[in-house]
Symmetry: C2
Subunit: 289 residues, 2 copies
C-alpha cells in the first residue's frame, strides 16, 4: 500500500514534504530567460528543486492551481513534474482538493490516478459528503494510491465551517475526523497507518494533542510550516515517534535562495539547506514515546 | 455584471442549462471513429450539442472532471468547448468546484477567469471558509465574472456535513447560505440578483420554499433534474417568476438521442427536443407572483 511506502520513506528521510507551488515570480529571471515556453520554465525549475532534495525528503506536494493558471502549457509542466518525481522514486502528492460525486468523482479519480496526470496520493474536499470519497477507493485498494481528506485547515476562515459546533458539542472537523477514521480503518497498511489520511493545518497547537490522540491511525499531511506561521514544535505535536505525518513547506524551501546574495548561483545549495534545516527543526522537537 | 446577462438570457430563453459532462460512452461510435484524437471527438460532439441548442438555452455547464480524465488532450477539448460557447455568445459555467486559500485561490482565479480556460462563472466549494472566496471577487467586480458557491447538494452524502445541526438549531447549509448572502449583497446586479450565486440540488422539495425565501437575492444553479430524480415541479420551487435560477441537465439532454431508433442520424433533433421538453416542463410548473 502507498502508506507503507510513505511511512518507510519518512523513517529514512524525515518528515519534510517539499511543496511545488511554483509561481513564476519564484523563479530567477536568468532561468526564465533560458527557456522558450512557460512549461519548460516551470518544469526545469521544479527539476532543480527535486534534484537538490530527493535524497533527503520522502515526497513532493504539487499544487495544481499554479499550473492550471498557465493553461495548457501549465498542465504540461504539471504532468512533467509529476512524472519526474515518480520516475525518480519519490512520492507525488497532487494537491487538487477535488470534491464531487458519482460519475464526476470517477472521472477525477481516473484523471489523477491514471494517464497524463497520474500521482500517488491526492487531496480531497469532503463538503459534499463521504459518498464523494467512494469512487476513489478502488484505486486505494488495488492500485497503490492514497487520499488525504481535508479535516481542519490553518487559515483564518477555517472557523466558518470546520469549527461550527454540532448539537452544542462536537465541532464539524471532529465529526469529519470520525468519518475519515471509519473509511480509513478499511484501508490499513502494515505500518499501522491508513492509505486514507487527513490534511490538518500545523497551527492551533491547543488542539494538536487531541487530534493526534483521536485519530491514532490517520497519517497527516500538515501544511502551515514556515510562511504560514507554524514552527517545528507546533507541527511535531501532530506526529508520533517522528512518523505519522509529513509537513509541507513550499515558499520556505523553493524561494529560500532569495535571501542570499549568491542565492541565484547557489540556488540548489540553499534549497537543499532550507529542506535540511526544516527537517532538523522538526526532528529536534519530535516526541518519542 | 454577468448576473444581468444571465438574467436577461433566462428571460429570453428559459431556465435550461445544458451540462456538458461529456463522457466518451455518450458519443456515437460513428463520431468517435471520424476523428483521430480524443480532443476532437469530445469537442466536435460538444459543438453539435451547442449548435443544436444555443438559441433555446441561456448557458452551458462544463464539468471539468470529464476533460481532466483525458489528460492534456482532454484539457484541450475543455478549452475549445469553453471558447466555442463564449464565442457564440452563450454563458459558460465552469463546474470546477475548487476551494483553496490565498495564493492558491488566486492561481485558480487566474486559471479559470483568464487565459486558456477562461469561463464566465465558476463553481466553488466553501469548506475551507469564506476567505477562500475573496481572491475571486476582483474578477466579479471588474471583469464581469460570477461564482456559484456550493450550498446544499442533491446526493445522499449531503447529510454528512451540510445537514449537521449547529448548536442544535440551524443546519450547516443554512449557515453557509447566510454567509453567501453577506458576500452576495456586495455584488448585486440591476436585475435584483447577485453575481455570487449558490448551487442548490433540485431535490428535497420540503426545503425549497424556505431556501428560496431566505436567499431572496441569490441566483441558483440547480442540478439534479432528470437523471438524478428532480422533476419540473421540484426545481420550479427554487425559481421565482420563472427566473432566479438555471436548472442543469446533462445526460438527460446529451444522451437523449440514444432512446430512439433513428437517434444517431437525428442526434441534433433529439438533443434539441430534450432541451425544449425540459424547458416546457419547468415553465409549466413555474410560480408567477
Amino acid at each position: 500500500m502507498i502508506i507503507d511506502r510513505l511511512y518507510e520513506e519518512v523513517e529514512r528521510k524525515g518528515n519534510v514534504c517539499v511543496g511545488l507551488d511554483t509561481s513564476l515570480e519564484y523563479i530567477p529571471s536568468t532561468m526564465k530567460n533560458s527557456y522558450h515556453s512557460v512549461d519548460d520554465v516551470l518544469f526545469y525549475f521544479n527539476k532543480r528543486i527535486i534534484d537538490a532534495t530527493i535524497d533527503i525528503v520522502p515526497c513532493y506536494k504539487v499544487q495544481i492551481a499554479f499550473y492550471e493558471a498557465h493553461g495548457l502549457n501549465g498542465m504540461l509542466a504539471y504532468k512533467k513534474t509529476l512524472d519526474y518525481i515518480r520516475n525518480r522514486g519519490a512520492i507525488a502528492i497532487a494537491d487538487i482538493k477535488r470534491g464531487d460525486i458519482s460519475s464526476t468523482a470517477k472521472a477525477y479519480a481516473k484523471a489523477h490516478f491514471e494517464g497524463d496526470f497520474e500521482s500517488d496520493i491526492i487531496t480531497l474536499n469532503p463538503y459534499m459528503g463521504f459518498d464523494s470519497v467512494v469512487p476513489y477507493l478502488d484505486y486505494v485498494k488495488n492500485k497503490e494510491k492514497g487520499l488525504f481528506i481535508l479535516l481542519r485547515t490553518s487559515n483564518e476562515g477555517a472557523k466558518d465551517i470546520q469549527y461550527l459546533n454540532i448539537d452544542g458539542k462536537e465541532k464539524v472537523y471532529n465529526y469529519v475526523g470520525d468519518k475519515i477514521k471509519d473509511i480509513a480503518s478499511k484501508h490499513m497498511g502494515k505500518c499501522g497507518y491508513s492509505s486514507i489520511g487527513a490534511v490538518v493545518g500545523g497551527t492551533h497547537l491547543e488542539e494538536a494533542d487531541e487530534i493526534r490522540d483521536r485519530l491514532g491511525n490517520i497519517f497527516f499531511l500538515i501544511p502551515g510550516y514556515g510562511a504560514q506561521g507554524g514552527s517545528g514544535s507546533d507541527v511535531a505535536s501532530y506526529l508520533e515517534n517522528g512518523n505519522g505525518g509529513v509537513v509541507n513547506s513550499s515558499r520556505g524551501i523553493i524561494t529560500s535562495y532569495k535571501k542570499y546574495e549568491d542565492g541565484i548561483e547557489k540556488l540548489d545549495y540553499y534549497v537543499r539547506k532550507a529542506a535540511l534545516d526544516m527537517k532538523e527543526d522538526i526532528l529536534s522537537e519530535t516526541k518519542t514515546m
